[in-house]
């Protein structure tokens, strides 16, 4: 039995790696067909033909694509992502700093948002169609319906400008004391929490309601267990798979999809880093960041699959 589980998990991981490899080909091909070229974008309005030719030669843009792909992949496997074309800085080290910031924000947001969403979901089920359910659904749905920049500006206006409790500029830097760092991310984390809360809460609620109709829940009720206890002990474990899937999708969003929040709160994360380099056609950086984003998505979905397999014995015997 255990061996079977291990085999399934190993398969998932292998599949993930294969997928990542395919994505790397896609990313490379995709960046090749972007309009314009790096030299033109770096020099911008001031490009003269002479300068363009010099720059193209210097950056090796004349080599064939396949050669460049394997050079690139080989480098990445050795942890060498190359240097940014636009400012000659080492990509791996600048990227790592930005990735740390992104993960820091994502981690603390998730730490608040995920338990909160699940607890709210459980409460909503317990008081289904009564006022707590309505209040929870109403507020979270309102928050998700508003565009994220709007939620961000509203929080900024009240908590940074009017009350002055938190800074409106969330720039973090190396060597910043932990307490300052937490103050800095308070508003972006709160905004992100409001945005991802409803999604996870609604899924928790729906998944649990689904199993609440089951015979074993009725049995549990008949043997006299209390409402929340039935939900927590019997219904929730059986609905964990869809919840984990949604949680993982939202975590992936926290890593790869928060560029708007980064811009309005001036948070130095991966999103802004990527966009600046896309605008300059800085292909090596775009490729590296693209690959990292893909790895995050694939990795988190893999985790979701594995958790589902462990939580649901039926999935261990695929037909």
């Amino acid at each position: 039995m255990n061996l079977l589980v291990l085999k399934l998990i190993a398969q998932r991981i292998a599949l993930g790696i294969l997928l990542l490899f395919l994505v790397s080909i896609l990313i490379f091909a995709g960046t090749q067909i972007l309009p314009g070229d790096v030299a033109q974008s770096i020099l911008g309005q001031g490009a003269t033909d002479q300068a363009l030719a010099n720059l193209r030669r210097e950056m090796g843009l004349d080599d064939p694509a396949v050669t460049r792909y394997f050079n690139w992949l080989g480098g990445i496997l050795q942890g060498d992502m190359g240097t940014a074309l636009s400012n000659n800085r080492d990509i791996a080290s600048s990227l790592w700093g930005r990735a740390q910031n992104t993960l820091f924000l994502a981690f603390w947001t998730a730490l608040v948002a995920v338990p909160l969403a699940i607890i709210l979901g459980l409460v909503a089920v317990r008081y289904q169609n009564r006022w707590p359910d309505r209040a929870i659904s109403g507020t979270t749905l309102t928050a998700i319906s508003l565009p994220e920049f709007f939620v961000g500006y509203v929080l900024m206006y009240f908590f940074a400008v009017k009350l002055g409790w938190f800074p409106s500029v969330s720039t973090v830097y190396d060597g910043m004391p932990f307490a300052d760092r937490m103050m800095a991310i308070a508003l972006p984390a709160a905004t992100l929490t409001l945005i991802i809360l409803a999604h996870m809460m609604r899924m928790t609620r729906a998944a649990i309601l689904n199993v609440m109709q089951s015979a074993y829940v009725e049995t549990a009720e008949l043997k006299g267990l209390g409402g929340l206890k039935i939900i927590w002990r019997h219904a929730f474990p059986n609905s964990v798979a869809p919840v984990v899937n949604v949680v993982m999708l939202n975590l992936a969003f926290l890593v790869v999809g928060v560029v708007v929040i980064e811009v309005i709160f001036v948070y130095p994360g991966l999103g802004q880093y990527l966009i600046d380099h896309v605008a300059k056609r800085d292909v090596p950086v775009v490729q590296a960041v693209g690959l990292i984003f893909a790895a995050v998505y694939i990795g988190l979905n893999m985790v979701a699959d594995i958790v589902s397999i462990l939580a649901n014995p039926r999935l261990r015997h695929p037909k």
Binding site: L55, S86, R98, V161, V266, P268, D276
Partner: protein
């Protein structure tokens, strides 16, 4: 104590740090002063007391990207410009009224034909790494920027230079291929920061002779620098202990940061929100009319714009006042179809202002014999509000019976596909240090960026003559003729010069607007100081 004596006393207390600003305002209003007056009285007193040292001066700026570098040759944006002016120094500077200010060059002299220039280098100036500045560093810097392979933003300026030689430990002689009376002005360009050995060893080391030493450089996020204790001119520069630039590209975030006092200075306040920013009690809006301008460009050699009557028709069909009011919300001045305004030295006074005249436009349009729509290409990246400006222009042309078809182009690729390629489009220019530089960059036949395809031999000849003319009266007469040629015959429609709009909190003193560029032409961080 009489009222005014008491106020005087109170302001002095503030300056000495014995009374907070808030308390001063409180007591002053108790004496019956209105708040704005009390505020201005205090800033007057603080200004008069001279610069105060100390504090961390923080700016929140638009115009930084994670692709930025510390190599001066690569600079293109405002953040790099302002940070660069804080840690680096050029040979010369230009003052707000257009005078040459010696900086690393103590003295500048030229041969009578303006072809040989001698720069005496200031003695005893130290680089941040402890090395003394010598003529060889200056020569190496200028050489690096003259190299065609350098991709330097100052390459255009360096093209006219024939040779650069050190003729002593503290003397540099520059020979130009043609007479150039503007050379010392051109060397004030912010790309030409003097670096040890010209930055040939480590172009992006961030080591210069400026009043601040780079301590943190995180491109597109945050730049920080600390006062360089051995700087040679600490009386005028380097008042704050530390300076910091946070890149805040989002306009709302920049304003919020200013409002919540997280920063002292914000650049690029958008005209549409200036009035709201003015209402924040502790914030002052600083605007200065500069040399930057928004333009509509016609190619003089492409049909139908190769017809002078059509060009004139399109010039008379431009409602400049309306543009300034609606696109710039009044933060700008009307243009007169030549790229020079009174912010330049030797500005040709008295050239009649071209007004919106639909009848005259119609007259010239009919004479041109053109029929059918004229395509005008535009994009948001051309200048803020460019698409709206194009629509307004379409309306004002319609009144003269001219049919403009506005075609909106993607911002991506606008500078490579549309500008300088399509015969009629919108664009912008920032100013240049001198009139000659502006004309040489974009209006003489050989200019790389002659974006109106304006080819006139007599114009080129005049430009060359004016460049070598040391007599100012003769020179300004030549500039008048050149302005008239561009205005009446060129492909340039110049509806407006846009102001630079910035905002500071009440803690910032010493703000001295500079028409050459944003942030006091980049000197805001090194020349302003903080009050309690």
């Amino acid at each position: 104590m009489s009222k005014s004596n008491e106020l005087q006393f109170l302001s002095e207390q503030v300056i000495k740090g014995r009374l907070s600003r808030r308390d001063f305002l409180g007591r002053a209003t108790a004496l019956g002063l209105t708040l704005p007056f009390a505020g201005s009285m205090l800033s007057g007193a603080v200004m008069a007391a001279g610069p105060q040292k100390g504090g961390i001066l923080k700016a929140g700026m638009q115009g930084g990207e994670s692709t930025d570098s510390l190599d001066p040759a690569s600079w293109t944006s405002q953040v790099q410009h302002s940070f660069g002016q804080s840690w680096g120094e050029a040979l010369t500077n230009v003052s707000p009224d257009g005078q040459l200010v010696p900086r690393l060059a103590e003295e500048v002299g030229s041969s009578p034909d303006a072809k040989q220039w001698t720069f005496k280098i200031r003695r005893g100036v130290l680089f941040h790494n402890g090395k003394e500045l010598e003529a060889s560093d200056v020569v190496a810097t200028l050489e690096r920027h003259s190299d065609e392979d350098s991709k330097s933003g100052a390459l255009g300026i360096m093209r006219g230079i024939e040779s650069i030689k050190a003729t002593g430990k503290y003397e540099v002689v520059i020979n130009t291929t043609e007479p150039n009376a503007d050379l010392p002005f051109l060397l004030s360009d912010y790309h030409l920061m003097i670096q040890p050995n010209g930055g040939k060893d480590a172009p992006d080391a961030g080591i210069g002779t400026g009043p601040y030493k780079v301590t943190e450089f995180e491109p597109g996020v945050r730049h920080r620098a600390v006062r360089f204790g051995e700087y040679w001119n600490l009386d005028e520069f380097g008042h704050a202990d530390e300076i910091e630039i946070t890149v805040i590209n989002d306009s709302t975030a920049r304003t919020s940061a200013l409002q919540s006092r997280q920063i002292h200075i914000a650049n690029r306040i958008e005209p549409r929100i200036v009035q709201m920013v003015e209402r924040i009690p502790h914030v002052t809006v600083q605007s200065v009319s500069g040399r930057a301008h928004y333009v509509f460009l016609m190619h003089c050699d492409t049909a139908p714009f190769d017809n002078k009557d059509l060009r004139l028709a399109l010039k008379y069909a431009m409602d400049r006042e309306d543009m300034v009011n609606r696109i710039l919300r009044g933060y700008g001045t009307v243009g007169n179809d030549f790229p020079i305004n009174s912010a330049y030295p030797l500005f040709p006074e008295g050239i009649p202002q071209r007004e919106y005249d639909p009848d005259r436009a119609k007259y010239h349009y009919d004479r041109s014999g053109h029929d059918g729509p004229i395509v005008l290409r535009t994009s948001d990246v051309a200048f803020p509000g460019a698409v709206d400006a194009a629509q307004l222009y379409r309306e004002s042309c319609a009144k003269a019976g001219i049919n403009i078809e506005v075609r909106r182009e993607p911002g991506d690729g606008y500078w490579s596909e549309v500008w300088n390629n399509q015969p009629f489009c919108t664009s912008y220019w920032s100013g240049r240090p001198t009139q000659d530089q502006m004309y040489s960059t974009a209006y003489i036949s050989t200019a790389d960026w002659n974006d109106t395809n304006f080819y006139r031999d007599d114009f080129d000849r005049l430009a060359r003559q004016a460049r070598g003319e040391l007599d100012e009266a003769k020179r300004s007469d030549m500039y008048r003729q050149m302005a008239l040629m561009v205005r009446d015959d060129g492909g340039l429609i110049l509806p407006m010069f846009n102001d630079y709009i910035e905002a500071t909190t009440d803690q910032v003193v010493g703000w001295d607007p500079h028409p050459m560029g944003e942030m006091m032409s980049g000197f805001a961080l090194s020349r302003c100081w903080l009050t309690a």
